[in-house]
Amino acid sequence: MTADTSGTDAAEAGLDTDALLDDPGIRIVVCCGSGGVGKTTTAAALGVRAAERGRKVVVLTIDPARRLAQSMGIDRLDNVPRRVDGIDGEGELHAMMLDMKRTFDETVEAHADAERARAILENPFYQSLSAGFAGTQEYMAMEKLGQLRARDEWDLIIVDTPPSRSALDFLDAPKRLGSFLDGKFIRLLMAPAKVGGRAGMKFLNVGMSMMSGTLGKLLGGQFLRDVQTFVAAMDTMFGGFRSRADATYKLLQAPGTAFLVVATPEQDALREAAYFVERLAAEKMPLAGLVLNRVHGSEASRLSAEQALAAAENLGDARIVDQRAGKAGLGDQEAPDPAVTSSGPTEPPLSPEAGQASGPEPAAEHQDTTENEPPHENIATSATTPDHAASPGRAASPADAAGPAGATADEAVGVEELTAGLLRLHAERMQVVAREHRTRDRFTALHPEVPVTAVAALPGDVHDLDGLRAIGDRLADGSAPAPAGAA
């Protein structure tokens, strides 16, 4: 783990987000990936950026966190695209949240006469199906996407995918529901009503009655009657469901569509991302690239974790006992950092490569090392910190006026503690950076062809358009070779 591992000097191609958003040939961008990786935020940020680059955009989100929805000004779940205020420039941003039940209802209403539609909507089986079936959300997201695309009102549709059990559900569920709704079994359920007593179909009826008998036993006769009523009412619509599912599927394979796989630089998320990349290829769906969210970097990356820890230890060894000042080393957690716990004299500090010129040892020697109580013991004192030496007002206090040379021993310790803390923090950051890099390298080794953009981690959540703009900037800059620096 040397300083250069931290640079984003990766061999993989960069993903040019702006070129993608500006391309008039691209009409649909689908953001997919496993749960908790920031898909919805990415979709919203892309929407804001594309709109401010002059396009007329609609973002279809599935299940946004409340704050995120509010950041775009949509806290109503009404299944209709709403214009988002506050977008700079000529472009427009519209946003909507998918209401899967309403989308299903609307689909039924659009494809059946009023009486039949009412019969379907009131059917208990339909009501459960439209609200509860595990694939309904995915199917309805696709249905809505098809509708939005057919209206041709927007230059660009950005779709967020549902929080599926696994990333692949999103591709499978529409097909599954489609094939169920006009599948073999549903046809069998309908058969008695349709084929009546036709002689040639008799054997089928035997099978049918055996089956409906079993299912009737299992689920109760009423359930089966509800299903049969539903199926009879839906009969004319089945072809429509299937053909629309097929059409949307083809739409996703078309050149005007671009998939972005979203992940974080963690093992599980990138494993899912790799599956998804493979699956998209198998389905011949066009992958634009990987958005890697919450990536850490450091502008001080030339100082490695080992060097930082060694330097921190030099300062720690030189420490003068002072209970009041002794608190800066640790916060309120037991530090699991092995480098800190192993700070005993038996383990000599690694010689920092970058520090060879001045060398760490003299520092330790010219200080009075009067005790070597490990920093851990100070946990109790650290709990009492707020009011003491390190309070904000201290910044303008004698330490500055007198300068380090004239500082009292107490204050000199203060700055050493502080510096040691900064070094340990940096070491932790560098360890995170190195870890993320290794995880990312594993992905790149599997899929070197996938362009990547890395989005630097923000310390907090996004609450407004400015936050989304900041993410958008990072999405655009993330393919640059320099590490995304301080967040």
């Binding site: 496993s34 749960g35 908790g36 990786v37 409340r66 208990p124 009501q127 459960s128 199906l129 509860g132 595990a134 929080p163 696994s166 169920f180 599948g183 079994f185 089956m211 079993t214 036993k217 299992l218 689920l219 109760g220 009423q222 359930f223 502008e299 001080a300 100082l303 060097q307 330097a311 030099n314 640790l330 916060g331 950092d337 520090g355 010129a357 001045s358 060398g359 520092a363 650290s382 707020p386 003491h388 390190a390 904000p392 330490a399 500055d400 300068g403 050493e416 502080l418 510096t419 803390g421 070094l423 340990r424 923090l425 360890q431 870890r435 310390p459 907090g460 959540d461 620096g485 301080a486």
Partner: protein, 324 residues
């Protein structure tokens, strides 16, 4: 202590890891636990580094003191076929049903039926006794669907009530609900110290309570160490950069002048994060539930790390109380 512990949480919070650590923690001192997954993701196998789990309970780890952790990936289709076999001695007719798509239909399309089968299988394991009349498993731990779907998933009664008003599925749903709503069950939620997962946790708890499902503990996962005291950090952002640069040089760091700004900026970010985490801790404290914290495991969770997490959970007495 609840015998059936359900672990849910927002996607990406590490539900599977927490469920596995809990199964290990509860298996100490010669006890036996069963860790079940219901979403067909083979997350348990990945975590324990084993082959894909079959539809079969098998030992996956041992705990200190001779305890054992078994694992099972519940598959709705297999559970339905088992069920039909058990009650109707279907034999080859089951295969015929499968061929016609009836099994697929019942487990995929028929709403709620799938969930009844999955929770039903887990509840069966909770209640199962050996010939001596002792429970086969001291605890059953479920790696459950995420927070957004957990209430609907567990509240199978409501789901099925509108459809199957009589018959075995209905009866099964009733039996499952009796277990789920009893003090035998605790539903835990996993979160991170971040705004969205914490908000989702609060919403999930409200939903669970409204459905009268027993809420257990909140597990705060991936907690990062605090390396610097916040007030010290604020000072660092102030006017002590020259001193820090000199101290860095003295500690053996070359070119320290250029490093001070990024180091201090990193510290400021850290301080901001610590502040946000404190706000989220306060929100969690306001939920009034037992809370356990698990440290961030940087390099991916393996079996050794799971044991460490289990030890941590035992220390904090996790899984031992619920509000039911």
């Amino acid at each position: 202590m609840s015998r059936f512990q359900v672990v849910s949480g927002k996607g990406g919070t590490g539900k599977t890891t927490v469920a596995a650590a809990l199964a290990l923690a509860l298996a100490t001192e010669g006890r036996r636990t069963l860790l079940v997954e219901v979403e067909g993701r083979q997350g348990i196998a990945q975590l324990f580094g084993s082959d894909a789990l079959p539809y079969e309970e098998r030992k996956i780890a041992v705990a200190p003191g001779g305890g054992e952790v078994y694992a099972l990936a519940i598959d709705a289709e297999r559970a339905l076929l088992d069920y039909l076999q058990m009650f109707y001695k279907l034999g080859s007719a089951g295969r015929a049903l499968k061929k016609l798509g009836a099994i697929d239909f019942a487990t995929t399309i028929a709403p709620g039926v799938r969930d009844v089968l999955l929770t039903g299988k887990a509840c069966e394991a909770v209640r199962r006794k050996d010939k001596q009349g002792r429970f086969v498993y001291d605890h059953v731990i479920m790696d459950a669907p995420p927070t957004g779907r957990i209430t609907r998933f567990l509240n199978v009664n409501d789901e099925v009530a509108g459809l199957a008003r009589i018959g075995p599925i209905y009866n099964q749903a009733q039996a499952v609900m009796r277990v789920l709503k009893s003090p035998q069950t605790a539903v835990h939620l996993v979160t991170l110290l971040e705004e969205m997962p914490v908000q989702e946790t609060a919403d999930g708890i409200a939903e669970l309570r409204a459905a009268e499902l027993p809420v257990g503990s909140v597990f705060v996962n991936m907690v990062r160490p605090h390396l610097l005291d916040e007030d010290a950090l604020r000072t660092a952002a102030g006017g002590r950069r020259k001193e820090i640069a000199k101290t860095l040089t003295r500690a053996g760091v070359t070119g320290s002048a250029a490093l001070v700004r990024p180091l201090v900026e990193q510290a400021a970010e850290h301080a901001e994060r610590v502040g946000l985490e404190r706000e989220q801790r306060a929100v969690l404290a306001g939920l009034g539930l037992p809370t356990a914290e698990l440290p961030l495991i940087g390099d991916g969770v393996d079996l050794a790390a799971l044991h460490d997490l289990a030890t941590e959970l035992r220390k904090q007495g996790a899984g031992e109380e619920g509000d039911a």
